[in-house]
C-alpha cells in the first residue's frame, strides 16, 4: 500500500508548480495573460510528451489533433446553441466532441502511419495537418475556409458576462486541469507495464519485439492518448478563448514545432520535462516579444542548438541523471 502511494510522489512537484502558476496569475496584476500562455504551452507539452517522449516517434502533424479538437468545441456550440436549457452543459458536450474527433483522427492516422518506423513515420505525418486543412477548405466541410464564428451563440447561451469570464479565466483553468490530467496519465503509464513497453520500444524496437511486446498496440495507445489530450487543449485554449476557428490558424504547423521544442528542451519522456520546457519556452518567447517585437520566432533555432549541444536529454533529463539515487531523485521523474 505504501508502495502504491510513493509511486505517485513525482506528482507533487507537478501539482506544486501548477498551483504556484495559478496563484501568481490570480494575485499579481497583469500576470494572468502570461500565465495563461504558459499553461497553454505546458499543457501542449504534457500532451505531446505522452507520444513523442514515451515512444520516441516524432509526429509533425500533431497540431491536426489540436485543430480538430478546436472544431469539436466550435461545432458543439454553434450547432447546438438552439437547444433550450443546455446552459454550461454545452461546454461539456464540446469537450466530449473534441476528444471523440481527435481520437478518431488519431486512429485513422495511426493505423496507417504507425506501421512505419522512425524517420519514415515523421515524414509521413508532415502533411497531415495541411492535408486536413485543405480537406476542410476544399470540400467546404464545417463552413470551409469561412470558419466558424460562434461569439453570438456563446453570448446567447451563457450571457455576455459569463461568456467573457469563460474566455478570460475559466478556459485557462480548464487548460490547467488538462495539463495536470495529462501529467497524471503520463505518470500512471510510466508506473505500469505500458510504460515499460513504451520505454523498450523507444530504446530498441527490435529488442521490444523479441521480448514479446506488441509494439504496434502500445504505439497506438500512446498516440491516441496524446492526441485526445491535444484535442482538449485545442477545445479550451483556443475555442473557448477566442470564439471563432479558421482552418489556416488552427492547423498551423508552428504549434507542432513549438511542442517538439518544449518536450525536447524539458526532457523527452520525463514527467516534469514538458512543464519545465513550457515555462522556459513561454517566458522567453513572451519577453522577447516585448523587448524585440517580431523577433520572437528567431528563438527556435538557438533553442534547438542549445538543446542538442548542452543538454541532449533535456533540462529535466539532466537533473534526473544528477539526482539518481538521492532523496530528491524520487521526485524528479
Amino acid at each position: 500500500m505504501k508502495n502504491q502511494v510513493t509511486k505517485y510522489y513525482p506528482m507533487l512537484p507537478v501539482l506544486a508548480a501548477y498551483a504556484a502558476l495559478f496563484l501568481i496569475g490570480r494575485n499579481m496584476s497583469g500576470m494572468w495573460q502570461l500565465v495563461a500562455m504558459l499553461l497553454f504551452y505546458c499543457a501542449l507539452g504534457q500532451a505531446f510528451n505522452i507520444f513523442l517522449g514515451m515512444t520516441g516517434y516524432v509526429d509533425f502533424g500533431y497540431v491536426a489533433f489540436m485543430g480538430v479538437g478546436t472544431y469539436g468545441m466550435a461545432l458543439a456550440i454553434s450547432r447546438l446553441a438552439h437547444i433550450e436549457g443546455l446552459g454550461a452543459g454545452i461546454i461539456v458536450i464540446g469537450f466530449v466532441l473534441a476528444v471523440l474527433m481527435s481520437t478518431m483522427l488519431s486512429i485513422a492516422v495511426g493505423a496507417v502511419a504507425l506501421r512505419l518506423r522512425g524517420a519514415y513515420f515523421a515524414i509521413a505525418t508532415i502533411g497531415v495537418n495541411e492535408g486536413f486543412r485543405f480537406l476542410i477548405e476544399g470540400a467546404r466541410i464545417w463552413n470551409g475556409s469561412e470558419g466558424i464564428i460562434f461569439t453570438a451563440q456563446l453570448n446567447q447561451i451563457l450571457g455576455r458576462e459569463a461568456a467573457s469570464a469563460l474566455a478570460t479565466f475559466w478556459a485557462d483553468l480548464f487548460v490547467l486541469i488538462i495539463a495536470v490530467a495529462a501529467a497524471l496519465v503520463t505518470l500512471i503509464y510510466m508506473r505500469s507495464k505500458i510504460g515499460y513497453a513504451l520505454t523498450a520500444l523507444r530504446e530498441d524496437e527490435d529488442a521490444a519485439k523479441v521480448m514479446g511486446i506488441n509494439v504496434t498496440k502500445f504505439k497506438i495507445i500512446a498516440f491516441i492518448t496524446s492526441a485526445s489530450f491535444a484535442g482538449l487543449v485545442g477545445a479550451s485554449s483556443w475555442a473557448l478563448k477566442t470564439p471563432y476557428v479558421f482552418p489556416p490558424e488552427v492547423f498551423e504547423i508552428h504549434y507542432t514545432i513549438e511542442a517538439i521544442i518544449i518536450v525536447l528542451l524539458g526532457g523527452a519522456g520525463t514527467l516534469l520535462g514538458p512543464l519545465v520546457g513550457g515555462l522556459i519556452y513561454g517566458i522567453s518567447k513572451y519577453y522577447l516579444s516585448i523587448f524585440i517585437p517580431g523577433f520572437q520566432l528567431l528563438i527556435f533555432a538557438p533553442i534547438i542548438i542549445v538543446i542538442i549541444v548542452v543538454f541532449p536529454e533535456g533540462v529535466v533529463g539532466m537533473l534526473k541523471a544528477k539526482t539518481r539515487n538521492t532523496a530528491a531523485g524520487r521526485f524528479i521523474v
Binding site: 523498450a200 530504446e203 529488442a207 521480448m211
Partner: protein, 235 residues
C-alpha cells in the same frame, strides 16, 4: 517441435528464401550453417515473424503459426536472440533482464528465471548493477541471451551468438548452448558461421546456400562429406 516448409520471403522485390524446409526436434540443438548471404538470418526472422513471410508454412508444436504476430509467438514460448546487441544501454544489467520477463507468463517465473540466468552467466550476477552499455562485447552478448531466457522460452533461436567474440568467449558461448540444452531442457535452433564449433554442438545440421537447404545430416555425416565441406563451409 518446429517444422518449416517451403518458406518464402525477402525484402521489397528481392526474394531471399527460396522454399527451404527444416525440422527442429524437441530437446535437440539444430544448427543452420552456410556462408554470408545464404539467408540464415532471414529464415530465423521469417519464422519469428519479424520478416513477413510470402509463402510456405511454419508449424510449432503441431500448430500452424506462419502468420501469427511476433508477440504471439513469444507468448507460445519461442524466443529469438537477434544478431548484434539489442540492449537497453541506459538500464542496468538486472533491469535489462527483468525487461525480458515482460509477458505475464514469464513474469510469474521472474525470480527463478533470473537465478537460472545468473547460474548460466555468473559474470552477469557480478555486474548486475552496472549499466548495460558499459559492458564488454561478450558480456553484452550474455545479457542478450539472458534476456531471451527470461521470456521463459521452450524453443530458442540464436542468430550468430559468437559473432565478434574473442576465442575464449566463443568457447563459453557454446558451453552455454550445451547447458541450455542439457540443464534447462531447451530446444535450440542455432545459426552460425563458425562451422567447427557449430558442428561440435549440434545434434543435426542443415547447410543453407542461396536461400535453400543444400544438405542436411548429423554432424558426422556433414563432416564426412568432402563435397559439402568444400563447397559450402570452406573447411
Amino acid at each position: 517441435m518446429l517444422q518449416v516448409r517451403d518458406l518464402e520471403s525477402g525484402y521489397g522485390p528481392m526474394q531471399v528464401l527460396w522454399k527451404p524446409g527444416l525440422e527442429v526436434k524437441a530437446g535437440t540443438v539444430t544448427s543452420l550453417l552456410g556462408p554470408n548471404g545464404a539467408g540464415k538470418s532471414t529464415l530465423l526472422g521469417t519464422v519469428f515473424g519479424s520478416v513477413p513471410p510470402w509463402g510456405g508454412t511454419v508449424v510449432y508444436e503441431g500448430k500452424e503459426i506462419t502468420r501469427e504476430p511476433t508477440h504471439k509467438k513469444v507468448q507460445l514460448g519461442m524466443a529469438l536472440v537477434p544478431e548484434g546487441k539489442h540492449l537497453f544501454p541506459n538500464m542496468t544489467v538486472e533491469e535489462n533482464l527483468y525487461m525480458g520477463a515482460y509477458l505475464k507468463r514469464a513474469e510469474a517465473h521472474r525470480e527463478e528465471s533470473l537465478e537460472q540466468v545468473y547460474e548460466l552467466f555468473p559474470r552477469l550476477k557480478e555486474r548486475r548493477r552496472q549499466m548495460a552499455g558499459l559492458l564488454s562485447g561478450g558480456e553484452q552478448q550474455m545479457v542478450t541471451v539472458g534476456r531471451s531466457l527470461m521470456t521463459k522460452p521452450k524453443l530458442i533461436m540464436l542468430d550468430e551468438p559468437s559473432q565478434g567474440l574473442a576465442p575464449l568467449l566463443v568457447e563459453l558461448m557454446f558451453e552455454t548452448i550445451r547447458k541450455m540444452k542439457d540443464d534447462i531442457g531447451l530446444t535450440i535452433l542455432l545459426v552460425e558461421q563458425n562451422a567447427d564449433a557449430s558442428l561440435e554442438a549440434a545434434d543435426y545440421v542443415y547447410v543453407m546456400h542461396e536461400g535453400t537447404i543444400k544438405a542436411e545430416g548429423t554432424p558426422d555425416q556433414i563432416k564426412a562429406s568432402d563435397d559439402i565441406r568444400e563447397a559450402f563451409l570452406g573447411m
